[in-house]
Amino acid sequence: DQQVKQNSPSLSVQEGRISILNCDYTNSMFDYFLWYKKYPAEGPTFLISISSIKDKNEDGRFTVFLNKSAKHLSLHIVPSQPGDSAVYFCAATVGDNNNDMRFGAGTRLTVKP
């Protein structure tokens, strides 16, 4: 029962270009969405989030877009840097409740110098 899906296991982009990571969800009750970043041998760390009352949230080089009608969100990284190479997890929850959070399987981003 994968309520949050990241259909691309991996993505490779050139340094300086845009990285776009995608995430789809099936549960229409989800109203808060988060992205986490994970380096090898480390735990995930929070990156950026968006509430369903918005369709865009920006934080420096990172922007998350939410399309509620399509049940789709995306993370844009501009410009991409080699240090952005990591696994990115999409997560969704109802009412920003940690106890109910559902995670995607992750997308491994590689940014080539």
Partner: protein, 113 residues
Amino acid sequence: NAGVTQTPKFRILKIGQSMTLQCAQDMNHNYMYWYRQDPGMGLKLIYYSVGAGITDKGEVPNGYNVSRSTTEDFPLRLELAAPSQTSVYFCASSQWDTGNTIYFGEGSWLTVV
């Protein structure tokens, strides 16, 4: 600057053996969590705690037990290890029950053979 500390990092168990994954946080967080991540899947919540003496089941609690006798510690017990419990386990804590405040440990790789 420890944050969330998990031990052991790696462990191989035989079917039917028992073990405890230790987790400690030094941030005085109220909330603590145990997740597991299977290959190609997102993190799934096993158990969580909202404070000392209070624990509750997450999405996948079967085969596990937890206790929370202090604010700092949240051990995860596997009583009768099964191959299906081969996974990477992440302990996490947060000051509030909101996703943008979660701090994860580095993970514990468990193989049951």
